[in-house]
Amino acid sequence: MEFSGKPASFQEVILRLQAYWARNGCAILQPYDMEVGAGTFHPATTLRSLGPAPWAAAYVQPSRRPTDGRYGENPNRLQHYYQYQVLIKPSPPDLQSLYLGSLAAIGIDMDLHDIRFVEDDWESPTLGAWGLGWEVWCDGMEVSQFTYFQQVGGHDCAPVSGELTYGLERLAMYVLGVDHVMDMPFNAPDAPIPLSYGQVFRQAEEEYSRYNFDIADTDNLLKHFEDAETECQSILAQPGDDPKTGKTIVMAQPAYDQCIKASHLFNLLDARGVISVTERQAYIARVRALAKLCADAFVTTSAAGLAE
C-alpha cells in the first residue's frame, strides 16, 4: 500500500505504521487476545525479550486502564486505547533513525517539527522489569516511549531489546489536528460510511467507566485474582516432561496468560478503590512474583533460544 501526504484517519496512521515496520523487517503480529494494561504485556514483548534468540515484531495492542475511564468525556483520557508496539532484539545500532523514519511515515515533517529525546527511565513493578531510554517529544508533546530493556522478570536482558511504544490515539490526534479524541475520523472521512472514533468507542467508554468504577463485583474480582495466581503457580509446578508425548514441554506461555489475568484483575480492583496503599504494594509484589516465575520458565525453552 502506498501512502502520501498527511494521513486522513486514525486507521491510516495505524496502517502506515504497520507498513513501515513490515518494510523494516518486523513480523507484524496481531493483538494478544487478552486484557492487558499496555503493549508490553503481550508475550511478544515480555517473554520474547528474554533469552538470546533474535526477535523483531510489531503490533497494535488494545490496552485497558480502568482508572483512566472518563465516560468518554475527556478529550484524551480513555480506559481502552491502542498502543503500537515494536520490539527488536538485539537493539539495532540505528534504532533511533528507524524510529524517526516511522514518524516521517505517518506524515510528521522532520523539517517543520522539533523532535527531542528527553530522559525517561521505564520501570514496570508488576513485570519486574526496567530499562533506560527517553520519552520522545514532538513540539513538546510526548509521542512515544523509547526503551532499552535491561531487565525483565528479574532476568538481565542479554542481548538487549529495543522497545518502542506509541500511544496511538494521542499521536494520531496530533497528526490529524484533532482536539477531542471522540471527534477523530476512524476511517477515511470520504468513505461511504465515515465513522468517528466516538461513533466506534464512546458508548463502550461510558459502559466500561460505569462498570469499572461502580459495578465490577470486587469479591468476584478478588476470587479471580487468587484463582489466576494459583493456576499460574500450579502450571509451572508441573514437571517439564510430558508423559503423553514424551517431550519436554515447559508451559511458560499458558502460565504467563494467568499472570496477565492477575495483573488486569488487580487494575480493576484498583479502579474500584478497594485496595489500600499498603495492600497495593503487596498485590504488585504478587503479580511480580508470577511474572518472575514465568520468565524463569520461559528462558529454559527453545523460543528463548536456549534449549536448541
Binding site: P75, N76, P90, S91, P92, P93, Q96, D109, M110, D111, L112, H113, D114, I115, R116, F117, V118, E119, D121, G131, L132, G133, W134, C138, D139, G140, M141, Y148, Q150, C157, A158, P159, V160, G162, Y174, D179, T278
Partner: protein, 759 residues
Amino acid sequence: MPDLLLELFSEEIPARMQQRAAVDLKKLLTDALVENGLTYAAAAAFVTPRRLCLNINGLSPRSAARVEERKGPRIDAPDRAVEGFLRSTGLTRDDLEIRDEKKGQVYVATIHTEGREATEVVAEQVAATIRNFPWPKSMRWGQGSLGWVRPLHSILCILYDESGAEIVPVVIDDIPCGDTTEGHRFMGKGRFAVTSFDDYAARLKRDFVLLDADERADHIWIEAHNMAFAQGLEVVEDKDLLAEVAGLVEWPVVLMGDIAPAFLDLPPEVLQTSMKTHQKFFSVRNAKSGRIEKFVTVANRETADDGATILAGNQKVLFARLSDAMFFWQNDLRVVKSVGLEGMAAGLADVTFHNKLGSQADRVKRIEALAREIAPHVGAAPDLAAEAARICKADLQSEMVGEFPELQGLMGMYYARAAGHDDGVPEACAEHYSPLGPNDTVPTAPVSVAVALADKIDTLTGFWAIDEKPTGSKDPFALRRAALGVIRLVLGNGARVNLADELTRASDTLYECYSNIFNIFEPDGGSEGWDNWQLVLSGYDKTSKEPKYITFEAPRNLYEGDDEMAFVDEGEHPPMLLTPASELSISLLAFLHDRLKVHLRDQGIRHDVIDACLAMPANDDLTLLVNRATALAAFLETDDGENLLQGYKRANNILTAEEKKDGVSYEGTPEERFAEDPSETALFKALDRAETAIATALRSEDFAAAMTAMAALRAPIDAFFTAVQVNTDKQILRRNRLCLLNRIREVMGQVASFSALEG
C-alpha cells in the same frame, strides 16, 4: 607538545547528568594520564545532548622512563607469596635481588618502566576511562556488554599540532574510532573529519551545534530576555531550568508563545510550576501586575516557517496541561468552600508521617499544641497560631499539591484565603516550611514564626525520640536543616524563647500522642507486672488500622530511677528505642548548640567564644546567647579585651596551680586591709566598681555595657601583676592575694566563662 581532542558521541545523554559527566571526564582522564607519566598544560571539557568532549593542551609526546624499587617478601617466605610478588612486578625470580634487612633477607625488585608514546598511553587510558565511567545509571545495548549512559556510537580521538593530526586508536568493542563526527541530528550535513579543537568547534557550529553549554544557556537567556522586553514583559529567572534546557538542545532556538486567557487567573506559581515541570517552559511575567502572561520554549532547530508549527504544537500541549491544572484548582476550591481546610485536612489521618511517629493528623495535633505555647514568645495570638497550625498541612490533601508537590504551603495559602482565613493565617500556611536552607528567607510574621518553629521542633523531637538522629553525612530526615531553621527563626526575629521548655513540652506532647497511636493496655497483673523483664502489650496501630503487637521492654533497674524504656515491635521491625523525655530535651538542646556553633562560625564568631557563653545560665535562649557572644567577640577584638584576657589567664593559671599545690580552693573574700601596694588597693576598688556595673548591665541584658565595665579592669589588673608578687612568704598576704585573684575570676565570670577562651 601536541594537544589531544576526544569526543564520545552517543544517543541523548540525560540533561541532569551532563555537567557532572564533563567534570568527571576531565578529572578522570587527566589524572590517569598524569599517573601514567604524561604531563599537560590545560584541559577543558564540553557536553551537549549527544557528545561528551575533552580538549587537553600541551600534552607531553612521550611519558618519561621510570625506575622503581619495590621491596618483596623474605627469601624464606612461602612460594605463593613470592609468586604473587613476581606477578605484581612482572619479573622472574632471576631478576630479583636479595638484600639484608633488619627482619632478615628479602627480595627486592627493580622495575624499569620504559617511556611510552603519548598515543599509546592515551589510547589505553581513554579506553579505561570509558569502561569505568561513573554514570549515575548506565545501560547495555544490542549484543554488547559495555555500560554507558545511552548507546555510544563513535569515538573521535586525535593528537594534533601545527604539523597535523594523528588518530589515536581507542579500542572499545566494535565502536568506530577515528577523526570524524557529525553535527546536528536534523540540520547537520553528515560526518566530517577534524584536525584540531578549533576546527572541531567551528565545524560543529557550521553544522548547527553549539558545543559549550554556557554559550547555549547565555544565548537562550539573552534571546528570551530580549523577546520579553520587546513586549514590555520579563522572563522569570530560573537557573536550574536554564541549565536543563541548555542540556536538551544542541542548537537552541527561542520561541515565545501565549497562554490562553482562560488560564490567566490561575495563581502565577501554578502556571509557572506546571509549565516548568511538564513542558520545561520559562514563564514570562508582566512586571506591573505580577501575572504570568506568556511562555518561552526552546526548540532544538530552525525551520522554514520560523518555528510557527513548533510553537503551535507546544501551545496545544500547554492548553491540555493547564486544563488539568484548572480542573484541580476548581475542585480544590469547591472542597475548601464547602468543608473548609479542616475538612480538606480530614484525610491526613490516613496519611502516615512516619510509621513510628503516627499519621500527619497526629503530627498536626502536636504542632497545634506547640504553636499555641510558642505564640506569646514571638508576639503572636495563641488562637491564631493554633488555627494556622491546624490547617497548615491541609493542602497536602489537595489535588493540586498531589500533582505538584512543590506547591505545598503555597496552595495552602490560596485555599486558606478562599476559606476566609486572615490575620496572617494564610501566610503562615505558605511560610511555615521556611527557612528551608541557609539562604532561604526567614519568616517574620508572628503567626508564621510560631507555626514554623512548632513544625520544626516537632520534627526534631519526633526523630530524636525514635533515635533517627543524623550521623556523619547521613541525615535522611533533614534534621540539621530543621535545627538551623529553629536557630534562624529565633535569631532572625530576636525571639526570646527558652527552648529547653519548648523541647520538653514537645516531647511530652509526643509521648502523649504515642498513647493515642497505640492502644496500650495495662500488663497482666496491673502495675505489679512492671518488674517483669518483658511485658507484651497488644493494641492496634490507629494509622494503618492494622493489629500491632508491641513488646514493652522494661529494664530491670526501672525502680532505680532509670526511666529508659524500649518499644520492641514483634514483627520484622528492629527494636525501637524511645529516648526518655527528660534526656531528649537535653540531647536536642546540645544538638541545637552544635548547629548554632556551625551557623555562627560561618558568620565569623569563633567556637571558643560561643563555648565561653554556652557555659552561662539560660543558654537555651539563643537570642540572649548570641547577643552575649557577639558582644564578647567584639570585645576580644579590642586592645583592652585582648589584654584583659591575658590578665585573666594569668590570674587563673596562678590560682589553679596554687589551689592544686595546696589542695584547697581560695574562695574566701579577700580583705582590702591586707593590701600592701597601691596597685593592690586600686584593684580592690576597681573590682567592686566593675562588679556593680556589670551586674547592672547584665540585668538589662546590655552586654556591650558589661564589656565596657569589664574593660575598666584591664589597667588595674596589669598594674597589679607588674607591682605585686602573689606568692609571697607572708602566708596571710599570699592567701589574701589568691582570694583576690579568685575575685577577678568571679567578677569576670558573671559575663562569660573566660577559661573556655583560647589564646
